[in-house]
């Protein structure tokens, strides 16, 4: 039995990446491995944490230590763990830092959670000899082998679970009138728009709590309820009004 860290999109996120991550977790469970799952947005995973660029490098570095995992299974998709960098220099720094985080694990599997073209850049930047690449079919194995130069022996084919019958196809922007409604991003919609300013004390407090929740893996930790803490300090005075609001909202569902 080994300790495995599986990182990537996870249910309820639909689509290939979440299915691939779920498949990896199933294989770990079947092998009786001790598995910790981390996803880029709140999900069925044990944890959620930033999974793009430097944030991803930091998350994997910290979780390597806290989960004491010796194996990493990292699902690659558009934006995870490398997004569109602002500059080439930034891209190089992010890739170096991620590579350093990956190198701390004894075994690394890179799982293809998107089309080869979508993740080829990421795969090229992160793959090292000794790493395993998991693809969905023989065609992808050939592509990974010929286009990216990953040796065939390092490529494993694990068919992706069939798409759900009731699941909407995940659409990309510009794909018909429902494109906005069906498009799903790995990291989720922005909680705070760029440049959005908190003008009142209450707005600042709200923002502090929401943001603390989102950067949980980076040290700040907010837990709703009586044991609410932010950087180790009680934050009930901030949480209570929001909790009241949530309670008010929660009254609507009527099953």
């Amino acid at each position: 039995m080994s300790r495995v860290l599986v990182a990537g999109s996870y249910p309820p996120v639909p689509g290939r990446a979440a299915s691939v991550t779920l498949g990896a977790v199933r294989r770990c469970v079947d092998r009786s491995d001790e598995v910790t799952v981390v996803s880029p947005r709140p999900s069925a995973a044990h944890r959620h944490a930033p999974m793009t660029g430097i944030g991803a490098a930091s998350t994997l570095w910290l979780l390597r230590r806290s989960s004491r995992s010796d194996t990493l299974e990292l699902c690659l998709e558009h934006g995870v763990p490398l997004g569109s960098a602002k500059s080439e220099l930034r891209r190089r720094i992010e890739t170096k830092l991620l590579s350093a985080s990956l190198a701390r694990f004894e075994r690394v599997s890179l799982l293809l959670g998107g089309d080869v073209e979508d993740v080829s850049e990421t795969l090229r930047g992160l793959w090292r000899p000794g790493y395993e690449v998991v693809v969905g079919n023989d065609h992808e194995r050939d592509l990974v082998n010929t286009a990216l130069g990953v040796e065939r022996a390092s490529v494993v084919v694990e068919p992706v679970a069939q798409r759900s019958r009731g699941e909407l196809p995940v659409r990309s922007a510009g794909d018909g009138e429902n494109s906005e409604r069906g498009a799903v991003t790995a990291t989720g919609p922005r909680e705070f728009e760029k440049g959005e300013r908190a003008r009142s004390v209450a707005a600042r407090a709200e923002r502090a709590v929401y943001q603390a929740e989102h950067s949980a893996a980076r040290a700040a930790r907010v837990v709703m309820g009586d044991r609410a803490h932010l950087l180790g300090r009680p934050v009930r005075f901030v949480v209570e009004p929001i909790r009241t609001r949530i309670r008010h909202r929660a009254q609507r569902p009527t099953t």
Partner: protein, 383 residues
């Protein structure tokens, strides 16, 4: 796999899940209940200890809820309340807003294969919509669907399409599911069973709660979504019209009595199942103003107690029950309810004969034996 289980839990779908579990266990099935540590469906706080325990002869495993904050989820909730379906991306943020149960999801991944079937209910919660993906080939969903915006969220399409089987509680619910999208090939209208009380104590109920006048009853959650606020307003009109009936309510949720109705609306609060049955028997009529019903157990309990039902004509399921049984009257607006209350107050014999037809309907269609037969037949088709 109900989201909440145990004493103190109020909710129709939770009651159905608990009774299905007990009923199947009584027929020799080995049943385990997987649920959360929460009791309160407003806060979803972990108020019961996590881990296994034995309750009423069943093994119950509770898993802690994890709650998060999301402005995107909040915004999605606002849209849904206004009848607008948010984007799928926003829906995903929304579903984790109330609670998540990662440990339950991973328990199912690990142990799902040990069960012949995993019964999920209702459709609306994380425990169904997300955990279904951990064991879809063994999943049986009792969706308890309502015709509401929540049911139109894309996130819930797989809940009806992907499980091994779907059990509906009524034909209108079944029709609604087909209108919403794909439904698993194996689906059946099982209904839900209602236990027949051995005896009732209506006089004792009146005496214990100091009720002197004839009354009509409202049972369940006192929430505007269940029609409570509408009922209070309509009852105010009945009082002004001089109808000599009080309104007694049992259940949970705040009851704010308008000044002019003080003494005419009596909140008995949360009561034991036996006292609930006594309340139904003591009432001159039971009022069901809720549109959001997938089965409406309380209507069945009223009929069993020999009490007629006054129900909103806009609620497809209860209207269907009333049409099939002849056990109730339907009102489309407040003035019609006032007239029906007058009939109940002035002609109790007529009301009672209506209730008898309702009682026959429940005994024929919704005895637990008949319902469990249908559920077992469906389960045998899976195993």
């Amino acid at each position: 796999m109900p989201p909440r289980y145990g004493p103190g839990v109020v909710g129709g779908s939770e009651a159905v899940s608990a009774e299905v579990a007990a009923g199947l266990a009584s027929r020799g099935w080995e049943v385990e209940v997987l649920t959360t540590c929460a009791v309160d469906h407003y806060t979803w706080e972990n108020s019961l200890p996590e881990g296994p325990s034995e309750e009423d002869g069943l093994l119950v495993r509770r898993f802690p809820t994890v709650r998060g904050l999301s402005r995107v989820g909040d915004r999605a909730q606002d849209l849904i309340e206004r009848g607008i379906v948010p984007s799928l991306d926003e829906q995903i943020s929304w579903i984790g807003l109330r609670f998540r149960v990662p440990d339950l999801f991973h328990h199912l991944l690990q142990h799902g294969h040990e069960f012949d079937a995993v019964v999920f209910s209702p459709y609306l919660f994380w425990t169904t919509a997300v955990c279904l993906r951990a064991a879809p080939d063994r999943a049986v969903v009792i969706p308890c669907l309502h015709d509401e915006t929540y049911a139109r969220l894309d996130l819930f399409r797989p809940v009806l399409a992907d499980p091994a089987a779907v059990w509906f509680l009524s034909e209108p619910e079944h029709d609604l599911a087909h209108r919403l999208g794909a439904v698993a090939d194996h689906h059946v209208v099982t209904g839900a069973g209602v236990h027949v009380p051995v005896s009732y104590d209506p006089d004792g109920f009146r005496e214990r709660h100091g009720i002197r006048r004839p009354f009509v009853l409202y049972a369940g959650r006192r929430e505007s979504g269940k029609g409570w606020d509408w009922l209070v307003d309509a009852f105010g009109l009945a009082v002004k019209a001089g109808i000599e009936l009080d309104l007694v309510t049992i259940g949970v949720g705040p009851v704010e009595v308008p000044h002019d109705l003080t003494g005419r609306i009596i909140d008995v609060g949360f009561v034991s199942p036996a006292e609930r049955d006594n309340a139904f028997a003591a009432a001159a009529a039971y009022i069901q103003p809720s549109l959001m019903e997938s089965f409406s157990r309380s209507v069945m309990e009223a009929w069993l107690a020999g009490t007629p039902v006054l129900a909103t004509a806009h609620g497809e399921v209860v209207a269907w029950h009333c049409a099939r049984s002849g056990g109730g009257m339907l009102f489309a607006e407040a003035s019609e309810l006032v007239e029906q209350l007058r009939v109940v107050a002035d002609s109790p014999a007529e009301a009672r004969s209506m209730a008898e037809r309702g009682r026959d309907y429940v005994l024929t269609q919704y005895s637990w034996d008949a319902v469990l037969d249908r559920m077992e037949a469906s389960l045998r088709g899976l195993t």
